[in-house]
Symmetry: C2
Subunit: 472 residues, 2 copies
């Protein structure tokens, strides 16, 4: 038997509880008997499919071809790249048994698939003519987590992982940056989430990477969320897994490699950047229902169904939801508010007398009477307005929240105000950890800028302008 | 370092080796270090994605919504439905350990997801108003196999599994049949594979099902391949997992359930129904490259590139492949033959003098000179011709291969001729096993027909007209 809807807690009451109540009420996630293993319900999965379709299209423009790797990796294969196994060993789900037969050589469920791609690339590359090879897979991966939260930290999460090999360092590094640009454009233009692009500090890099590029978004509580990363892997995996090609010089060379991923975590960002105390606010491009047609007591006024059908036909290019039940219009609107539908069309007798319907914007709650004859053009304009508005709102918050700081005291104050800080920083991993103890904030990324100044912590001169924030 | 292409073995030499050499040469599958765990290479995955897109579209028309379940199931959950655990226990991949920590209650990697869907449905259904609920997921599942073969028997394979619950038996059973019709239409119209629809015998049913509907296709070696199945599950899972709803009578009732799946096995059928001794023959609708534009020594005749670009623009609605390298045209054509591209366009100086190009059909090897001005319309017609032709060819073989038999001797003869048999059969599981020992053939399905006759094995009167065949 299903539980009834809970009350949505407000952001001011408790941001974390608000998040959970949005996830539950918008029917995004159901828990299962295994910690951190969750059902991505149809509403959440439809968002992910919309994300997937758009990114996949962009990847294909860059010559990336999809494939599917196995889920399991022999544990022995992990031993070959030291940093990689150290990074992932404690989190691995291990398969030790098939039926009642114990395995001598256990398998790990992939926490990421570098090893699988390496062994694959090794088998298919011969010469420089075969390069570059750019592949991607949409799949789930598993990493045991002490604390789990829907989307933000699932023991099993879904993502795409793009892996590519090149003849030269330059090409591999450039492609890592190109894919970060694909992510940036997508997250900003389709998810309407403004981001900061930068480079991870060495100690925040992906296990085995030479460079990790990242985009960081800011949630409404001032915390940062790493939204996607792209890694230049150098030749370290190539050497560990022996991926060689014959160059134009007829000599054998190791390939240069990159990988990049964006995961279902981004749905957590989508919620925490846009949603309000009434529910989700979904960007029109990825909303599972873009428009809801809600009739007001169609049971007593059957002509409303005829008009609704006309509207449905006229708006057939959009993803539509309809509710012609005899529930009250307040109830129907509240449901759509919770699920974040960008526009509701109220079809009622009173307005129809004037050949009008009422549009309700999810982002501003504004109600607009519109003549039926103008409906299609108004909807088109309004969806664009909503998109611009929610992006601008988030952008304004982000811009106003990044404060330049010169001292640990200033950093502490800024973070206590639920903001983010930028500072010249040339410290070590240990310095970063110490700063986190003092301020709750840590390095998120190094800005892609050429200014230089004095490190606020070590006083050394540096060109590393660094973003500090609390982070999910 | 990659292996060189092998010679394609002919079907007459050895059908099984021919199959393997097609899989390797068309770059569909690479093996990994774990038995039965394979890489679905970009060519294979593009076929699967085309299959997926079309079926997904059809499912959505029937009100099915996608979601994603976890990969792991607590083993304890399996115990709740006796037939189900008996069917799957020996094949389960068991997770006993996370990092270096042993688990008290191990998990199984899903071999199918009935249990996960049951526990989910239980949590979200309240009353008859919530029904029906129709969900589907595209995922991989794992079942340990003694003998593994690419596509046909992978320890990990990809599929969709559709699960739905209803208030009445009638609705659930009807929907199981509706989905079998979706599969039938898709497999016949898009994959151009003719199929036989029927009901599985009780001992060939899915573990836990009340009825299993199936479509069976015939491979070129006369063996049957079960291409998709749809199951009416009754209330057995509902009772085991306690999925109840409040009916219009205000009483609590168990739901009626169905599930259905089509897997990457179908790619095996696609190969064994259509391919020839030169390579794959792909139906135009799901070919990863529908048309290949191959210029003949464009390096010496740069005007060929200009014409190729015109052709590319004109045919931009299709999935195109282009090769303008200085390799010989014979080599280029052979590559496209191996990969099954329906039409190659040869762009050469000689024909261009007459404003023509040469089209080469993959299915018939026919070469057709066509005026550039007629190219687009000719291509459109030709792709339709190819589709019809490969379906008709397979249909003819199927129709000519089903022989009605009256005795075990006749059955033996028919099977020895690489054909299939239909016979009235009212025997038991043990009879079926005995017949298999004698003839290599076993029951594939019971035809959906109302005739009756005498069982060829037990002599009892029966209305079960049954398909017998060797099977993959």
């Amino acid at each position: 038997m299903a539980k009834k809807l809970e009350k949505i807690i407000t952001r001011n009451e408790n941001f974390a509880d608000w998040y959970t109540s949005i996830v539950n009420n918008a029917k995004l996630i159901q828990y299962t008997d295994i910690k951190g293993m969750m059902v991505f319900q149809p509403n959440a999965w439809a968002i992910w499919e919309a994300i997937k379709n758009q990114i996949d299209l962009e990847f294909k423009k860059h010559g990336v071809r999809n494939l599917a790797m196995p889920t399991l990796i022999p544990l022995s294969e992990f031993q070959k790249e030291k940093d990689h196994i150290e990074g992932f060993a404690p989190e691995l789900f291990m398969v030790n048994q098939i039926g009642d037969k114990k395995l001598d050589n256990p398998y790990a469920i992939r926490p990421t698939s570098e090893i699988l791609f390496c062994n694959y690339f090794k088998n298919i590359v011969n010469s420089y003519n075969d390069l570059p090879i750019k592949n991607n897979q949409w799949c789930s991966v598993m990493r045991a987590e002490k604390t789990t939260r829907p989307f933000l930290r699932n023991a099993e999460f879904h993502w795409q992982e793009l892996h590519a090999i090149f003849a030269s360092e330059h090409e591999a590094d450039e492609f890592a940056k190109t894919i970060l640009d694909v992510y940036t454009d997508f997250v900003q233009n389709y998810l309407c989430i403004p981001v900061i692009k930068g480079l991870k500090t060495p100690w925040e890099r992906f296990a085995g990477a030479q460079k990790t590029y990242t985009i960081e978004a800011m949630m409404q509580d001032g915390q940062a969320l790493q939204s996607a990363t792209s890694h230049y892997l150098g030749q370290f995996f190539a050497k560990a897994y022996d991926i060689k090609f014959q160059g134009q010089d007829n000599q054998m060379h190791y390939v240069h490699q990159m990988s990049a991923g964006l995961s279902t975590r981004i749905i957590g960002a989508l919620i925490m950047v846009h949603a309000d105390d009434q529910g989700l606010i979904l960007p029109p491009d990825i909303a599972f229902n873009q428009i809801a047609i809600l009739s007001i007591f169609a049971n007593k006024n059957p002509q409303l169904l005829t008009i609704s059908e006309q509207i449905r036909n006229e708006l057939s290019d959009y993803r539509l939801f309809e509710d012609h039940s005899d529930k009250g219009v307040g109830y129907k609107l509240a449901q759509q508010e919770i699920e974040g539908t960008p526009i509701c069309i109220l079809v009622g007798v009173k307005e129809l007398a004037n050949q009008q319907v009422v549009l309700v914007r999810r982002d501003t709650h504004e109600k607009i009477n519109v003549n039926l004859i103008d409906l299609k053009s108004t909807i088109k304009k309004l969806l664009l307005d909503i998109k611009t508005n929610i992006y601008q709102k988030a952008k304004k918050q982000l811009d106003e929240s990044i404060v330049f700081v010169n001292s640990i005291e200033e950093l502490k104050q800024v973070i206590a105000q639920n903001k983010m800080a930028k500072a010249f920083f040339d410290g070590s991993k240990e310095d970063d950890e110490q700063i986190k103890l003092l301020t709750n904030a840590s390095t998120r990324c190094i800005f892609d800028e050429t200014q230089s100044g004095q490190c606020f912590y070590t006083n050394k001169k540096t060109n590393k302008l660094t973003l500090f924030a609390r982070a999910y």
